[in-house]
């Protein structure tokens, strides 16, 4: 109680100091929330792409999105160390829409045979997966299901018709048979269909001139190659590039390095925000506590006279600065959480842009508390070292 009264002695100064911590923690929570969301996305990507080799038509640089013959699957599976080559087709679920947040809604083919090889496991929240023989069935990721307010048993036309759709735009009815659990990464925006259905939709989107000459069921966007147990995926990528003509295989190690580089950038943003909080909040706490020590010299002298030891005085002043940190941190966290909710609703689409994880929330608050405590150490030490006679005889 005395701690609160001491803070309340100089209301304006205490409020300004708490505001300094509050601003720092607000910045830390929001910037950290951005980084947390991005890092969750990156982590999912690292986990997924480190367990396979991405193969595409050679002019497409390794990622799917071009056109590749389904027959390449056989060639790939002949390469030493390859367990299975999984054909994949991906296309926009909302053509022409740039989407909100980090993930775009994507219709993607699902290969039950390949799922067992991936280290990135998708789990169902409800319903069941599509199979190779599924027709007109879709499994939604958590975000896309929320965005279109769909549950198992509902129907939806895919791709979703854009407002400025061309006259020849075609879509097909699908029944939602499953909803995936949230992953905080790309699959949250997936609409998984069978390869056959994905090829149908892919064929619909081909330019009319090509459409007549190509059988969409012989085409895929790319292949995801999984290795046999113990096989080195980078070596498999090299062998594919050497042995299978017309394709480009990306080494998982290269992809993972690129993903981690993105992650480092965002972590740096968080660190900068934290340093700003440290500098702004910490200096203001040090200043406030030094002033408090100067103003309360006689009080310190009295306390020492009646038996307070160095530790007692240190503890009292550090407790006060810690309280400043805790109040500023608590307010910063609360307002930061509200800001994240508001910003996600306003700009983040269904998946959001910011992610307030328990780690970030607890970490930010503890950071503020520790910051307050550390910033109080120097003034507290100054108070504790004070000569009781000089302190008692001081004016003021």
């Amino acid at each position: 109680m005395e701690l609160v009264r001491n803070l309340w002695r100089r209301k304006l100064r205490s409020i300004l100091t708490i505001t300094g911590i509050f601003m720092g923690i607000l910045a830390l929570v929001t910037m950290g929330g951005l980084a947390e969301h991005f890092n969750a996305l990156i982590d999912g990507g690292v986990k997924y792409f480190s367990s396979n080799v991405q193969v595409s038509e050679s002019s497409n640089g390794g990622f799917s999105g071009g056109i590749m013959q389904l027959s390449v699957k056989d060639d790939l599976e002949k390469v030493e160390g390859v367990a299975v080559a999984s054909p994949g087709v991906s296309l926009q679920a909302k053509p022409g829409n740039l989407g909100g947040g980090f993930t775009n809604d994507t219709i993607t083919s699902y290969d039950p045979a390949a799922a067992q090889y991936s280290s990135f496991k998708l789990a169902l929240a409800s319903g069941h997966e599509v199979t190779d023989n599924s027709r007109g069935e879709v499994v939604f990721g958590s975000t896309i299901a929320k965005e279109f307010k769909k549950q198992v048993g509902d129907t939806i036309d895919l791709p979703v018709r854009p407002a400025d759709a061309r006259p020849d735009f075609v879509n097909h009815p699908f029944r939602v048979v499953g909803i995936l659990q949230q992953t905080l990464t790309a699959p949250d925006g997936f609409a998984e269909v069978s390869l056959h259905d994905a090829q149908t939709l892919y064929g619909d989107q081909l330019p009319p001139a090509i459409k007549k000459t190509l059988d969409p069921y012989t085409l895929v966007g790319g292949m995801t190659v999984y290795g046999k147990p113990g096989a080195n995926l980078d070596d498999i990528a090299d062998r594919i590039n050497n042995q299978v003509p017309g394709v480009k295989a990306l080494k998982p190690s290269v992809l993972v390095t690129q993903f981690k580089a993105f992650s480092v950038t965002f972590t740096a943003i968080t660190t900068v925000a934290a340093l700003l909080a440290l500098v702004i909040g910490g200096i203001s706490v040090v200043n406030t506590m030094l002033m408090a020590v100067t103003e309360r010299i006689r009080e310190i002298g009295l306390k020492k006279a009646v038996g307070a030891r160095t530790g007692h005085i240190m503890r009292e002043f550090v407790s006060e600065s810690t309280l400043i940190g805790a109040i500023g941190g608590g307010l910063g966290l609360a307002v930061g959480a509200l800001a994240i909710i508001g910003l996600n609703q306003a700009f983040g689409g269904a998946s959001g842009i910011f992610l307030l994880t328990p780690r970030l929330a607890i970490g930010s608050f503890l950071f503020a508390v520790v910051l307050g405590a550390v910033a109080g150490l120097l003034p507290a030490a100054r108070a504790a070292r004070m000569d009781p006679v000089i302190a008692l005889r001081s004016v003021g």
Binding site: E2, L302, K303, K304, A305, V306, G307, P388
Partner: protein, 241 residues
């Protein structure tokens, strides 16, 4: 056994030609249960002497023996513990904390002595009753008169049951009537609780109500006078029932 024994005590400030000898070779023994006053002009060294006895400063040379224990070599932390358990302080300008009410101010030394909080709180209320401030327990110093504040500080000085209470001009900021009332309270504590009192004052009338007057001049004991006839009638009630 003397409560306080000063052996060739010296406290010098500065160096060389600018050395100030605030206390210069004082030998003094104050018996347990005595009520002594130290008088002298401003700058005579009486406050430095009191601060030394209160273990608030270290002497340049000499020894301070309290209740038979030589405090000379004590570390700062041990001196703080000693102050907490053996000594009480009364200051001229009260030194109450404005953020605390009367009872909290009385209890301040308990915070550092480690005494049982519940027992101490009970004792604090008893002491406030003794000094006649039961109805002011929840009041802050800013809501009290000078006399009331000094009575709170007397209760604070006695809260840890010290053997010695040191007063630095305890009535210096009070009018004559209030001073007399406070001295009555201090005398009662001295008589009923056996507490040794040493007060520093420049008020000779006040000093004449004590058992002994030690005059200090230029850091030396100029005279040491034991009063044979105490003024009568100043103690009317026992300090604790």
């Amino acid at each position: 056994m003397p409560a306080i024994q000063l052996v060739d005590l010296r406290k010098y400030y500065g160096k060389g030609e600018q050395t100030v000898k605030a206390v210069d070779g004082v030998n003094l023994s104050i018996e347990s249960g005595e009520f002594a006053s130290i008088v002298g002009r401003s700058g005579s060294g009486k406050t430095t002497l009191l601060d030394s006895i209160g273990l608030l400063m270290r002497p340049t040379t000499g020894r301070i023996i309290i209740d038979g224990e030589d405090t000379t070599a004590m570390k700062d932390s041990a001196r703080a513990v000693y102050r907490s358990h053996k000594l009480g302080f009364i200051f001229q300008d009260f030194n109450l904390l404005d953020t605390l009410n009367a009872i909290e101010n009385v209890l301040l030394p308990v915070r550092y002595s480690g005494a049982d909080k519940k027992e101490a709180r009970k004792r604090a209320f008893e002491l406030l009753e003794v000094v006649g401030l039961t109805d002011r327990a929840a009041h802050r110093p800013t809501q009290m008169s000078g006399g009331e504040k000094q009575r709170v500080s007397i209760a604070r000085a006695l809260i840890n049951n010290p053997t010695i209470v040191l007063g630095d001009e305890p009535t210096g900021n009070l009018d004559t009537e209030t001073s007399a009332k406070l001295m009555t309270i201090l005398r009662a504590a001295n008589r009923d609780r056996g507490v040794t009192f040493v007060i520093v004052t420049h008020d000779l009338d006040l000093a004449s109500t004590t058992d002994r007057i030690v005059r200090i001049q230029d850091g030396h004991v100029q005279s040491d006078e034991r009063l044979t006839a105490r003024p009568s009638g100043e103690v009317r009630e026992p300090i604790l029932a």
